[in-house]
């Protein structure tokens, strides 16, 4: 009897173990499948001239996405400049000073913001900037992306500041150092790597956002032209090219996707490697 129960238990165990293993493979396999497929489809259209040339008119073969690469760099860069300081400062507030209802509602709002569909954020930036200025612009795209970054950076900053042991804070206070200096020169540097890693990951995350850019940055077939004009970005270019009827554009969309993926992957891996030595 006991042997029977034991044998059954072994079987169930093996079955469940196999099931979890299959699911784990499925989960990680998806990433590999996407990467592989994009590399295969995009690799063939990728060339130096694709990276450094502007798009050609429809019907003419070739051309590149230099404007989208520059545009993405600008839009995402400005989004970082706008969003990271706000997110980090708010995170400092929550971790170091925030108590009570106000802090609770800020934290709660940030968590909800994290779940707001990005297209809604795009609409908000449209109403806030595009509509009053009567113009699509790189600036409005950056603002939309910055809105997405703030809650991510905020929560990450707060988490890493909380990892700094209270004893470090006490040590600095006991030296007769004012609170703000303790936070700025002792606590922030201690959590520095984690905070910067979080900021990098947030940048990588918004670099791939398409929806908020559709009616803000809008896209542009020409070279970048300042902050207050429509601008091409990688994800938006991929979107436009992919739904076009032209075979040539389809291939270029795959190549652009490969570049975007490579960028996101490099930033991710760098950020994670950088974080590893401390505060993990």
């Amino acid at each position: 009897m006991n042997d029977l129960v034991y044998a059954r238990r072994k079987k169930v165990n093996a079955l469940m173990f196999a099931l979890t293993a299959v699911c784990a493979t499925l989960a990680s396999g998806t990433l590999l499948a996407i990467l592989g497929y994009i590399a295969w489809k995009g690799g063939s259209s990728l060339s130096w001239s694709f990276l450094v040339n502007l798009p050609k008119p429809v019907g003419e073969h070739g051309g590149g996405i230099a404007n989208a690469i520059v545009g993405s760099a600008k839009v995402v860069g400005l989004a970082g400049v706008l969003g990271i300081p706000v997110g980090v400062s708010a995170g400092v507030y929550l971790a170091e000073y925030g108590r009570g209802k106000y802090a609770f509602s800020v934290r709660y709002a940030a968590d909800i913001m994290n779940g707001v569909p990005s297209i809604v954020v795009g609409l908000f930036a449209y109403a806030l900037i595009v509509h009053p200025m009567k113009k699509f612009s790189a600036l409005s795209g950056s603002v939309a992306l910055a809105f997405i970054m703030v809650p991510i950076v905020l929560r990450n900053t707060e988490e890493f500041l909380r990892l700094v042991p209270g004893t470090i804070r006490e040590a600095a206070l006991a030296l007769g150092v004012p609170r703000w200096k303790v936070t700025l020169f002792v606590i922030l540097p201690t959590a520095g790597r984690g905070i910067m890693t979080g900021a990098l990951l947030a940048l990588a995350r918004v670099a791939g956002e398409t929806a908020p850019l559709i009616f803000t940055a809008f896209g542009n077939r020409f070279a970048d032209n300042g902050w207050l004009n429509p601008i091409a970005t990688l994800p938006h270019t991929i979107y436009t090219y992919a739904i076009s009827p032209y075979e040539d554009w389809h291939n270029q969309a795959w190549a652009a996707a490969l570049i975007l993926m490579a960028f996101v992957l490099v930033v991710n891996v760098t950020a994670r490697l950088w974080l590893r030595p401390r505060l993990t």
Partner: protein, 273 residues
Amino acid sequence: MAATEIDMRPMSLPAESSATPKAMPIAMSVRDLRASYGAASVLKDVNLEVRERTVTAIIGPSGCGKSTLIRCLNRMHEAIPGATCDGDILLGDRNALALDPVLLRREVGMVFQRPNPFPTMTIAQNVAAGLVLNGVCDHAVLAETVEKSLRRAALWDEVKDKLDAPGVGLSGGQQQRLCIARALAVEPRVLLLDEPCSALDPIATGRIEELLLQIKDQLTVVIVTHNMQQAARVSEYTVFMLMGEMVEYGLTRQMFTKPTDKRTEDYITGRFG
């Protein structure tokens, strides 16, 4: 126990040996100090006088309010949400509770239970931190202070060749001496130590006790300890606390040989606690 009774005892005792102090002037005094965390009362009318350039040990079982008491002395209790204290704490003739806590802490430094060097700083930067963060940037002054403080903390010979190595790379005992050096660098008049050796082995503990006996020539030391032998070895005065009350305060020799209170005797002889 009335405050006046306590005040007189150290002065009226005969100077029997080198461990028996001449009555030094009073560095800090505590009058009717009460402290609580939220609704929980942890200190009940504590009266205490800490004499200059002596070592005063605070002993007592866990949770008796020892740490709270010394935290109140430089107002580090304010870093704990909900902690409050009232009564009088005098530093010399100034009311410590009315001073700017930041300035008070420059005169009354603190070393904690666990060594806590700043993880992003080198050994030298750790020692200089208190000065640098308060705006001193003269390199010659800083270098001199680093050496002087490390010498006073009996750490100089071990680290003089690696001042630019991270402070957290040192052993536990060295880290704690680094923290003492860091606290000494801002030239406090009083140094509070909250169970500084509880995370250390006996050899590291011995080094710290030695250095305490050396630095007390220049400043006042108050040490909280769980270890009664340690209190007996390093201190001239001992405070015994129990459940938030100061049960007995007097010369260490006296307290460990002829305690006046039954509860002190029970604790010291290991009958409880």
